[in-house]
């Protein structure tokens, strides 16, 4: 009678050679030791901070909405208006760029220009862009508006362009066969196919832009982030807790409503 194995081990899938696997594991362990070694922890400072951390958790549990309400509401209004205007402007600019970056619609040289605009906008962090816009346009929500609009272009135009490249060619072919001009082609063959996706993406970007608007305030571009930064600098953790709760609540509402709307549209 043949003896059957009683245990089973999945064969390795990524690195098949045993020796290579071993070296790789050793290298990873060495790296981790080195990396952990670079972290200098000032335990006395951490110990001091524990009390502050406790105060923060308490502030989060008993948020103080009232005493800084004026600052909070102003920051909130700035963030929300900034979010909406920048999304609208960003999407409006993205549409021509997205069409230009679709290989099946645009001539070669326009394609390269539009793709490089997208690449630049995607490669730079929002915060870094915000630093530059604050330096150029001064503090306040206008710099934030420009930052978010610029960041929106990279996101929407890229996904729109990829979408246009993936459309059903048969429909475009049918419209072309009627002798349609380029504008008619875009209007009747492309637009109906990508419109639901574009609206969905814009809603998603609205959501992202609100989250980002809470961050770029830290470098001076207005919005709720500036208020949050101030309250943390002043160690007013109950106000900071209130602001964070408001951000979480708005993000949750935005996420649920945008996913509901997207489902409704498709």
């Amino acid at each position: 009678m043949a003896s059957y194995p009683t245990t089973w081990r999945r064969p390795p899938q990524i690195v098949k050679d045993r020796r290579w696997r071993l070296t790789l594991q050793i290298v990873i362990v060495i790296y981790l030791i080195l990396a952990v070694g670079t972290v200098e922890v000032n335990w006395a400072r951490v110990y001091d901070g524990l009390e502050r951390g406790q105060r923060f958790v308490l502030g989060f549990l008993q948020p103080d909405f009232s005493s800084r309400w004026r600052d909070i509401s102003q920051g909130l209004v700035e963030s929300l208006t900034m979010t909406l205007t920048s999304t609208v402007v960003g999407v409006a600019i993205s549409i021509p760029i997205g069409i230009g970056a679709a290989r099946n619609l645009a001539p070669r040289w326009i394609y390269y220009i539009c793709r490089s605009i997208i690449a630049v906008s995607r490669a730079l962090q929002e915060v870094i862009i915000a630093i530059f816009f604050v330096a150029m346009f001064g503090f306040g929500p206008f710099a934030g508006f420009l930052t978010l609009s610029f960041a929106t272009i990279g996101f929407i135009a890229k996904l729109l362009a990829d979408d246009i490249e993936e459309i059903d060619e048969a429909q475009a072919e049918a419209i072309r066969a009627t002798g349609a001009s380029w504008w008619q082609l875009v209007n009747y063959a492309i637009q109906p196919q990508v419109m639901p996706r574009l609206i969905g993406l814009s809603l998603y970007r609205l959501d992202i832009n609100f989250r980002e608007s809470a961050v770029i305030g830290i470098v001076g571009a207005g919005g709720i982030g500036a208020t949050l930064n101030t309250s943390i600098d002043r160690y007013e953790y109950d106000s900071a807790g209130a602001i964070l709760l408001i951000i979480i609540a708005i993000v949750m509402v935005a996420e649920y409503s945008s996913s509901y709307l997207r489902k409704f549209l498709q």
Binding site: R10, I14, Y31, L32, A35, V36, T38, V39, E40, V41, N42, R45, V46, D48, G49, L50, R52, G53, F56, V77, E78, L80, T81, M82, L84, T85, V88, A123, L124, Q125, V127, I128, I131, F132, A135, M136, F137, G138, G140, P141, F142, F145, R211, E212, A214, V215, I218, V219, G225, L228, N229, I232, Y235, A240, L244, I247, I248, V251, M252, E255
Partner: protein, 250 residues
């Protein structure tokens, strides 16, 4: 109806624009091209001799991203199992908590986490690592629990039918199915974390952002150029590595 919606959107846009630009100083705006030219002039040529000073902060940035991802994964895995409908022990009680953890972590940017942690545990790498880890929970947790919910139920049933315990079902039925997704998500998040950890230094959480902050504060724009180019190169490289690795896994 449709036109009404568009009109409402335009009206809302104009209204928001009015509120937003109430306090804008238009002189600064019209002056912006000159400012831009001025900054551009100061940024060029890049001060390449600054590069050696950036090696150590760059290494710190890599460590923040890697260790932060590791910490995030360790915390996100249990959360994901609690959040997935087919593995959670209780859908009425534990699942909403896990989902709240995921949403809370996702809605607060790592820069804000870092701001808080620098206030609590002091400036330095540790604050950056913890910030990245806390921020990663939501992303990894969300994608992982979706992967768990999409597992093939028949394989799990087959294992359960052999009389396997709960732990064995998890180990032999679910884990092998989500392993590729797990590694893909982890590498993807690591790539995002490299990007995010480059700016954490702006609020004092270590890494190359500290040098950026220092150069910005002293208006050393020619150093800012060098730092930005280095960040750009790092981000592009990590994106390439992660794309290659995900390609190999999936």
């Amino acid at each position: 109806m449709l036109w009404g919606a568009w009109l409402a959107l335009i009206a809302l846009f104009v209204f928001c624009w009015q509120i937003m630009t109430e306090d804008t100083i238009w002189f600064f705006v019209t002056d912006a091209p000159r400012q831009a030219a001025d900054i551009g002039g100061r940024m060029l040529p890049p001060r390449w001799s600054y590069l050696p000073e950036l090696i150590q902060p760059l290494w710190d940035t890599l460590n923040i991203a890697t260790l932060g991802t590791l910490g995030g994964v360790i915390m996100a895995v249990p959360v994901a199992f609690l959040a997935a409908r087919n593995t959670t022990p209780s859908t009425t009680f534990l699942r909403p908590i896990a989902l709240f953890i995921i949403v809370a972590s996702r809605s607060i940017n790592s820069l804000i986490w870092a701001l808080l942690l620098v206030a609590i545990i002091g400036p330095g790498l540790l604050a950056g690592i913890v910030a990245i880890a806390l921020r990663s929970i939501g992303f990894i947790g969300k994608l992982l629990y979706e992967a768990i919910e999409e597992t093939d139920a028949r394989q799990i049933e087959a294992i359960a039918a052999t009389g396997a315990s709960r732990a064995q079902v998890l180990n032999y039925g679910i884990v092998p199915q989500i392993m590729p997704a797990f590694w893909g998500i982890t590498v993807f998040r690591w790539d995002i974390n490299i990007r995010e950890s480059t700016i954490l230094g702006l609020v004092g959480a270590g890494g190359i952002g500290l040098k950026l902050q220092a150069s910005l504060n002293t208006l050393a724009w020619s150093q800012v150029t060098v730092i930005l180019l280095l960040i750009l190169a790092t981000v592009v490289l990590s994106e390439w590595v992660s794309a290659r690795m995900r390609h190999a896994i999936i």
